[in-house]
Symmetry: C2
């Protein structure tokens, strides 16, 4: 090879260990990831990179695992400002006496901007590069995520009742259509439709949501079968399980993301298989609110795509997706009565490629493969207290914490460097967070 066949690239990352996700289940030693613009130019051995590439910038990550950025498929980002406001309470006390009054009093465009920024800071710091959001003022979420440069699916809320964001379904759908028109085609912001849940949205707005999805190609994400009560209550009133009603309306399809699904019978399984709808598993929220346990291993064995989300920080209480996949891997085993259920590699895939698949973007996200977008993270495994390391994948899932993430890139743009955020002014954010916290604390019945 002569000098003029050497390929120039922007960035070369030398990785002690590489978990590319594709091919599946492997850990490669001493690889190089080459980035050109917003894409992965190549993934090769370091020896081959020496021979074929010249990079403007080279990073030696000699104690690190390099892998695709994590995809947090469900949350309510701005609720981070309510983190730990009211815990260990029955769901209805939590909602009626704490969360809803606080939302009614505080949620505004400014609250959403600051709260979303706080959530993005935590997510970036702990390895997430793409998140899905479902909350009020989605236009603010989209704009803040765009400013920071995070990849985000932004679901506008849809329900029967009026909220601080609109008077009812007509207004939500009109504003939602605007949101979709504004952002559709953007490489990072994915506008989507977020019907809250079967018990809060009637058939008519759901049909309009399906129509809107058909017109625009936008995804639909909704809370579904979160608790046994939801399913029993619907069945008692209508003789039909909520998932079956969604199927009948035509809402289920490969563009649909069903969040929670702790209740699954054989008919539900058939609907999911027949339609290609995705399940978004939120284990820590399901545990903390005593909602139930999603049978992840069974779903995966049936070929249903299961991605993972943290849910909002108010019911978790953090947005560390590494913690979440650890919990998912532990819980899946006891639910399946099988210590081999949801292996470490499978858990990592759930937080990357399977999330990309739920977004309909697995052709360009979720694995470290030539030509895909350069959404990449590095995790420093040199912490002395988690030694020794026999299997880096197992270490990431069972002994790791998101704080060990040292670097991340989104579309080739550095977002975390040596553990520091490059695009969020953390001290300034902290001042804003403290102001909100003081006001919220003063108004909560158990705090003031």
């Amino acid at each position: 090879m002569t000098a003029d066949t050497i390929i120039a690239v922007d960035t070369r990352i030398n990785a002690r260990w590489l978990i590319p996700i594709e091919p599946s289940g492997v850990v490669l030693d001493h690889q190089a990831v080459l980035i050109q613009g917003d894409r992965i130019a190549a993934v090769v051995t370091q020896a081959q990179a020496d021979q074929d590439y010249r990079a403007r910038e080279t990073l030696d990550l000699n104690r690190h695992v390099v892998m695709p950025g994590l995809i947090n498929m469900h949350g309510h980002a701005a609720m981070s400002l309510f983190r730990g406001l009211a815990d260990d309470l029955p769901l209805m006390t939590w909602l009626h006496e704490h969360i809803w009054p606080a939302e009614g009093r505080f949620v505004s465009a400014e609250f959403i901007a600051d709260g979303t920024r706080l959530a993005m800071a935590e997510m970036l710091r702990t390895g997430t590069t793409t998140f899905s959001d479902m909350y009020f003022f989605p236009e603010v979420v989209a704009s803040v995520a765009h400013d920071v440069g995070m990849r985000a699916q932004v679901c506008f809320p849809l329900m029967d009742m009026p909220t601080m964001w609109g008077s009812g379904p007509e207004e939500y759908l009109a504003k939602g259509r605007q949101l979709i028109e504004q952002w559709q085609g953007d490489p990072r912001i994915m506008p989507a439709i977020g019907p809250h849940a079967p018990y809060t949205v009637s058939d008519d707005p759901l049909k309009k949501a399906i129509k809107l999805a058909g017109d625009t190609g936008a995804r639909i994400q909704l809370h579904l079968h979160e608790t046994a009560f939801e399913v029993e209550d619907a069945f008692g009133k209508t003789g039909q399980r909520p998932l079956s009603r969604m199927a009948e309306l035509g809402l289920l399809g490969p563009g649909t993301q069903c969040v929670h699904m702790t209740q699954i019978d054989d008919s539900d399984l058939e609907h999911l298989k027949a339609t290609g709808a995705h399940v978004i598993h939120c284990p820590e929220s399901n545990l903390k609110l005593a909602s139930g346990l999603c049978p992840v291993e069974r779903l995966q064995r049936e070929g249903i795509n299961v991605a993972i989300g943290t849910d909002g920080a108010a019911s978790n209480n953090d947005l560390d997706l590494f913690g979440e996949i650890g919990t998912a891997a532990l819980i899946a085993k006891v639910v399946a009565s099988d210590a081999a259920a949801l292996s470490a590699h499978s858990a990592l895939e759930m937080a990357t490629l399977r999330g990309a698949r739920a977004l309909g973007r697995d052709h360009e996200l979720g694995s470290l493969v030539e030509g895909k977008l350069a959404d990449i993270i590095a995790i420093d495994l040199s912490d002395p207290f988690i030694q020794p390391i026999y299997d880096p994948a197992s270490q990431l899932v069972y002994s790791n914490q998101g704080r060990q993430v040292s670097h991340s890139w989104i579309g080739g743009v550095p977002q975390v460097q040596d553990g520091n955020l490059t695009r969020i002014d953390v001290p300034d954010l902290m001042l804003k967070v403290q102001l909100w916290a003081d006001r919220i604390r003063a108004s909560d019945p158990d705090q003031s």
Copy 2:
């Protein structure tokens, strides 16, 4: 008050927040903990401390929670050297093909010394000040823990078969009696008796263990009802559940610690209540090995004392007790179908005072009360990514990680200062750990 009534003490810790555990369920603002020698001299407001005390050294922990050191009630410390060696495997494959061969090949006095030191380093770093151990060469564990200055219950192993530590029950019991005689009365090392499990120890050695406990006052800790298989198998062979057999032998009492107890029927509950035996809950190990779920809330409601342990790092895969109580609090809610089950305060008590109670030392450990031993930790809550803080107790359980522990003292002796270990040479330890890891890796069938 005149100058000569001012009390001189060694150390004053100014705490932004104090969770004393006694009284229960409270978080106090701006308190001072005063240490004299190895004891807590007083816990008072900072204003009162200014007035009544003069300290040789004062520490301002203005962003911290100060609370009693954590008590990790079950583990196999030296197995840290096998952390992540073989995961996602059925229990019997894990034991027969990986753990037992590795133990047979590597476990020696030197292995135990290095592995126990590694475990102690991780436990100290993450807030544990007292741990219970059950593994081979307990005399080495006792000596290493004594050198470092950690408080430890050291259970000598007892089982029917020969191991690297002895030829069988007679030798184990003789060596165990020596261990007890050597350490009994030591303020930090608590020698104890560790029958492995009902299915590995016959009635005769169990009776001798009970006799030894009676003679010496040593506690008994054993694995019990870890899996449904254990209980069903015993019942099928003998018509009796293992716990019932232990009760009949006279092994259960206020000095007995029953580890795991994922299987509990009404008769088991009656035995536990009648005898005052303690339950040690190891949620992450129970999940990871798909063993089952201990009904913690039900046990607590019946007045049974439930403490917590991490189990060994090989089935966890870390010894971070803050992570463990987070998991315990989440799991308890879904097991009890009640989001109010095992509150944050209750989870913190499980890892402190309830552990002390299981050790029979709640009169001098487990809470920050005048006259108790000065086993104290501080956790820095200033990490920007877990703000805001409405309730420090909830923060510690649901959003915290052991790495936020900044300080600890055991009997007034500093063990962690600004996140650094004072009594373990971490770089030297890491060299030893890497040597063990290289040898173990080379011998494991899936690694070499």
